[in-house]
């Protein structure tokens, strides 16, 4: 990448099962106020924030053009607001390009999602399938994940115990994360006996449905240095789309994640991902955590069982925040991962801070069985 783009501020609401007392505008306002306080920025015509990228989803929000209701909260009165309706981490991809293009110096990103309002996440993700062939079968993201989990667990020898351990570890980490304290602690026994929802995926293997909002301020290198003494630099971005029909794909191949991460590593001049200090991946289901490790090149293909046994999740600081298993809404997973990675590099991660972290990776995923992956590399230098 020709120039650097800096993350200058990060803000989140807590993530809770049901924020029934708050509208999505209210959640976003909490985030906005914190971001403005941290940076001293405003929306003035001269030198203020003039580009905002929101993250939401019309179907989750049950509102056509759901960003319409956000114009004022996002400071978009006579300013520019654009909505990324994909994995939230893609707002960073868009924001980075807007700054590198030279068109703008600051980009405000705010994502919100009230998954509790959609009643059933599987209703929403069900309509991501085409109406002719796959929707009538009853597929949703969870069922598609079940198909992938079957194939992957067999290939990489991942057991029910491995998956239970992953969930318990995520819950332990979540207890140290001030934003995810709503999720309760679990035992191995709780997980192992929880209901099967898409064999081998158990209910407690799935990310908890939750409501919340998250925001980031991006700035050009020159401006970033002016408004913060702890900028976090976005060194590389990359994403990739896989085929749509599950039958067209080798669902254990990690095709899209491998390509996405290769692109991000190349742009960030990373030759060995094992040298990264913190890795935040979007693990919507427990099996995905080791599977994405194979995709990122953290462990060899088909070898993640041994890799888990050697305690590598802790060794490589994978999801110290608890990850998505600690509860972030579906479309915000990757954006929260990026926010968490930035907090780690700023030394502001609180009880789950990784000491002296200088490089980090954030990952977002969208679509059935990980059809689309997006990876961002962050550095302090």
């Amino acid at each position: 990448m020709n120039k650097k783009v800096g993350i200058c501020a990060v803000a989140q609401t807590t993530y809770e099962r049901d924020k029934w007392h708050q509208r999505f505008q209210g959640m976003a306002l909490e985030v906005l106020e914190s971001l403005l306080n941290q940076t001293g920025l405003d929306f003035s015509e001269d030198g203020g924030i003039n580009t905002t990228i929101s993250v939401s989803d019309d179907i989750f929000d049950a509102r056509t053009i759901s960003d319409n209701a956000m114009t004022d909260v996002l400071g978009a009165h006579f300013r520019c607001e654009e909505k990324v309706a994909q994995e939230g981490i893609q707002a960073i991809y868009y924001g980075v390009s807007a700054i590198l293009s030279g068109h703008t110096d600051f980009v405000l990103i705010i994502g919100h999602c009230k998954e509790s309002q959609a009643k059933s996440r599987n209703m929403v993700t069900h309509v991501a399938f085409d109406p002719f062939y796959t929707r009538p079968v009853g597929l949703d993201f969870c069922a598609a994940a079940g198909i992938q989990a079957q194939a992957y667990c067999q290939k990489s020898k991942i057991t029910d115990e491995h998956l239970a351990k992953i969930v318990v570890r995520a819950r332990q980490n979540a207890q140290k994360n001030a934003y995810t304290k709503d999720v309760s602690m679990l035992t191995m026994e709780n997980v192992l006996s929880s209901q099967m929802i898409a064999d081998p995926i158990r209910e407690l293997h799935a990310y908890p449905v939750s409501d919340g909002a998250v925001g980031i301020i991006l700035a050009s290198e020159e401006k970033a240095k002016k408004i913060t003494d702890k900028p976090v630099w976005i060194a590389g971005v990359g994403n990739c789309m896989d085929s749509f029909f599950l039958g067209d794909r080798d669902v254990t191949s990690n095709f899209a994640l491998k390509k996405a991460s290769e692109r991000a590593y190349k742009r960030a001049s990373i030759t060995d991902p094992k040298t990264l200090d913190v890795i935040e991946v979007s693990d919507q289901y427990a099996y995905q955590l080791p599977m994405w490790m194979e995709g990122l090149g953290m462990c060899d293909d088909g070898k993640s069982a041994e890799w888990l046994n050697s305690n590598n999740l802790d060794k490589y600081n994978v999801n110290p925040s608890g990850g998505m298993l600690a509860g972030n809404p579906l479309i915000l997973g990757g954006l929260v991962r990026a926010a968490e990675a930035a907090l780690q590099l700023r030394g502001e991660a609180g009880e789950h801070q990784v000491k002296g972290a200088k490089t980090a990776l954030a990952h977002g995923v969208m679509g059935p069985a990980g059809q689309f992956h997006s990876v961002i590399i962050l550095k302090t230098e």
């Binding site: 056509t64 520019c80 654009e82």
Partner: protein
């Protein structure tokens, strides 16, 4: 506008716009436009680095439609981005593609706007935009008679209705020359009085004939870095500037204080930044997002910063015709074809085609050195573009 590097539009592909495309599903429909755009640009899908996609997702009730559409967009194995901002989606996709190429991240980006309104319910869908507690009872979707009432109030019923219908008929005459246009009615100026009375009323004096269509269709544009664009295309259309301005409320809540439209605000900024003193002589053509003929005529005044009844005179004098002094919407405009997620992109695409001299029968006779295109959506949001025949000077 400061920019890291120049971006040229090198290819445009469109489907025919129609109320029904039952012969194709969504990816198949998109594929038609993708194929046409690649052919126009003289490249293959392998040359495309990144695919940008957008529509109004609640209309067809497909969550994250870019996932399914991979089959028709050719985005397999590529970098992708999905953006959606309501009616402005098509314009926002152009902004995104421009950012992605100018940033240096990609050399060739393909942007896809589409809608299959037949598979949704436009007015019902847009009504769902309003707050469910406070405003949904009052919403009329995209159908608002406010502008018609204002124009009638200001210029008298007879003149206002006549000019509005003249605008409508000029747009239809343009659409008749555009083989992609949806509504091609063959209207004559002699029918104006009759139509003003007999066309079914929607809201007040906004009648069916004034209003844009509900269309199915897709538009695809291909953007390239200056180096690639010059290699691949004899006459690219260059993106000189664009500005996006939102506002949520449709009227001033503070009594008689003047209401500044986002059209006017965007135009003022754009002209200021590009040192344009007289838009009607310095800009050769304007492809405007005109949801109805009432809005179309009213917004001419806003965008061109006109005074009094100058905008009405432009229509009465025929200035806005293809062969006129200041051609507006040679494509026939939104009134003729309105696949919502694509519509705002079609405006930019048309301006680009005119610069490239590739507009076919609706090519304006004069040399288009500088063209303006607008997108509109949400409540009162505007995206305004300035395209040029010569690559802009980089003045960073």
């Amino acid at each position: 506008m400061k920019r890291n590097r120049n971006v040229g539009i090198i290819g445009v592909g469109q489907t025919v716009y129609s109320s029904h495309r039952e012969d194709v599903n969504q990816p198949e429909m998109i594929y038609e436009a993708v194929e046409a755009a690649l052919k126009h640009a003289g490249i293959t899908i392998d040359d495309v680095d990144c695919v940008v996609h957008g529509n109004m997702e609640l209309f067809e009730m497909v969550h994250q439609p870019d996932l399914w559409h991979t089959i028709g967009t050719g985005s397999f194995g590529k970098e992708c981005l999905r953006v959606t901002t309501g009616g402005t989606t098509g314009a926002t996709l152009v902004c995104a593609a421009d950012h992605l190429v100018a940033s240096g991240l990609h050399d060739i980006v393909m942007a896809i706007g589409f809608e299959k309104l037949q598979e949704g319910h436009t007015t019902g869908g847009i009504t769902n935009m309003a707050d469910p507690l406070w405003a949904r009872q009052l919403q009329t979707g995209a159908l608002t008679g406010m502008t018609a009432a204002d124009v009638i109030d200001e210029f008298g019923e007879e003149r206002a209705k006549k000019v509005s219908m003249d605008y409508r008929i000029i747009m239809d005459k343009h659409a008749m020359k555009n083989p992609y246009a949806h509504r091609r009615l063959g209207l004559e100026f002699s029918q104006a009085d009759e139509l003003s009375k007999t066309s079914p009323a929607l809201v007040g004096e906004l009648r069916m004939i004034h209003m844009c269509s509900q269309s199915d269709g897709a538009c695809v544009m291909i953007f390239a870095s200056e180096e690639k664009a010059k290699k691949l295309c004899k006459q690219p259309a260059w993106i000189k500037d664009h500005i996006t301005a939102h506002r949520e409320e449709m009227f001033c809540v503070f009594g008689d204080a003047p209401y500044i439209t986002t059209h006017k605000y965007a135009a003022q900024k754009l002209f200021e930044r590009n040192n344009i003193k007289n838009p009607r002589t310095e800009i050769d053509l304007f492809e405007m997002y005109d949801p109805s003929s009432w809005w179309g005529l009213d917004w001419l005044r806003e965008f061109l910063l006109l005074e009094g009844d100058e905008h009405l005179k432009m229509i009465e004098n025929g200035d806005i015709k293809i062969e006129g002094a200041f051609p507006v919407n040679p494509s026939g405009g939104v009134i003729a074809s309105n696949p919502i997620g694509a519509t705002a992109m079609v405006r930019v695409a048309e301006a680009a085609l005119q610069i490239m001299k590739a507009a076919g029968d609706h090519q304006v006779p004069k040399d288009v050195k500088q063209a303006m295109a607008s997108g509109f959506g949400g409540t009162m949001w505007t995206v305004l573009f300035l395209l040029t025949k010569e690559p802009p000077v980089l003045n960073n």
